[in-house]
Symmetry: C2
DNA sequence: ATAATTTCTTAATGTACATTATTTTTTCAG
DNA sequence: CTGAAAAAATAATGTACATTAAGAAATTAT
């Protein structure tokens, strides 16, 4: 698999980390030494079902979609990962069991990745990263609890409004088909919904 | 509010903690000193919307339901908390913003609770609790990501089967009305579903 | 025990959304 | 630029589930 040789800045990821913990210069450099960069070309996959997840990803630029395909062959998008977000398959990354997910680039995407081995090493070398991830997962958990509740209780229209609120930058950047998959309706019905919304 | 004076054992919670970190005797005692016990009588509430969440709860015995009420007055159960589980409203606990949830005892329930103040103190006194919570939230996050995907993609029947798998001890312990609320259907439809399932 | 209340069942009718099919529009490879 | 393929729009029909209503069963309170 071809990877770009052009390095990009670690500024964004360091700023992301500094939301929750402070790193001195030495720690910053140690942390960076445990990371790898990669550019994913549009439509390329970094994960397919059956593979064990090796890395967690931080998005510097572009957009990934994380999705699975059910028994009937229908695609379900679990999340879009955009600039300044972390993504991967946390279950497979943790348990080292095969994943059920695809992760595919919707645009040319720059990511910074950390391997499971270096992730474990990170906690040994810089224990305060336990705190960073504790807070990161805690916030993420709060979001997913809410999303889980909303996915079961809101109408398709309200789930669409939530998508627009959560991903304003994606509304005109990803296909309607993918938005439909994210909010759990058919593209045909989303088309009807959008027409209904715009006519108000 | 009346609280029981009968103390119960900390054995269960210490065993829960020891899944991810080891505590020596001194640390165990320090930890326990930061906890409080409470018995919640059947139908009593420990949280109502508008209140800021003061505590996180560990269930020693019994069952709590965590739910919200939507604009139309419909109740949506977000989780059942049973023995050996943690619960609360993590979003409000974290941000100290008012909660949107009710937490109510379905049976007489024994809980061990930690206040936000002692939770913060815990990380200062025994930093490896950052690791404990990092792993706890990470696993919980993996579960909620899956549940969030399933809530949007599975049929009511499959969500019911998932409920049975996740909470085998509750199937004949909580009302069908509450199960219906958890899986996001009306009690009438769950009644039809169960009849359909049992006739196979 | 008995009444009152809540839960559960059943059935008729209604609605949000899926499915299928066709046409139009957009994207993209050559 | 041109044609092929993918995405989007529209419409007819179908289905999973909601709503409403009423009676039966179970729980709870007196």
């Amino acid at each position: 698999m071809k990877e770009s040789k052009t390095p990009f800045s670690y500024e964004l990821i360091l700023k992301n980390i500094s939301r929750f913990i402070d790193l001195n210069l030495e720690e910053q450099n140690l942390y960076i030494s445990l990371l790898r960069q990669r550019v994913i070309r549009k439509k390329d996959f970094i994960l397919k079902p059956g593979e064990v997840v090796k890395d967690e990803y931080f998005i510097v630029k572009g957009c990934l979609k994380v999705y699975s395909i059910d028994d009937k062959g229908v695609e379900h998008i679990s999340m879009f990962a955009i600039k300044d977000w972390w993504t991967g398959d946390i279950a497979s990354f943790l348990t080292q069991q095969p994943s059920n997910y695809f992760i595919q680039a919707l645009e040319e995407t720059e990511v910074i990745k950390i391997s499971r081995k270096n992730y474990d090493l990170l906690f040994k070398k810089i224990p305060k990263f336990e705190r960073f991830y504790r807070i990161l997962y805690q916030k993420s958990l709060a979001n997913y609890i809410l999303r889980s509740d909303q996915n079961i209780s809101l109408s398709a229209e309200d789930r669409y409004f939530n998508f627009v609120k959560k991903y304003p930058s994606l509304v005109n950047r990803v296909s309607q088909k993918d938005i439909a998959s994210y909010i759990g309706v058919t593209p045909e019905f989303l088309s009807v919904l959008r027409k209904r919304i715009s006519s108000i």
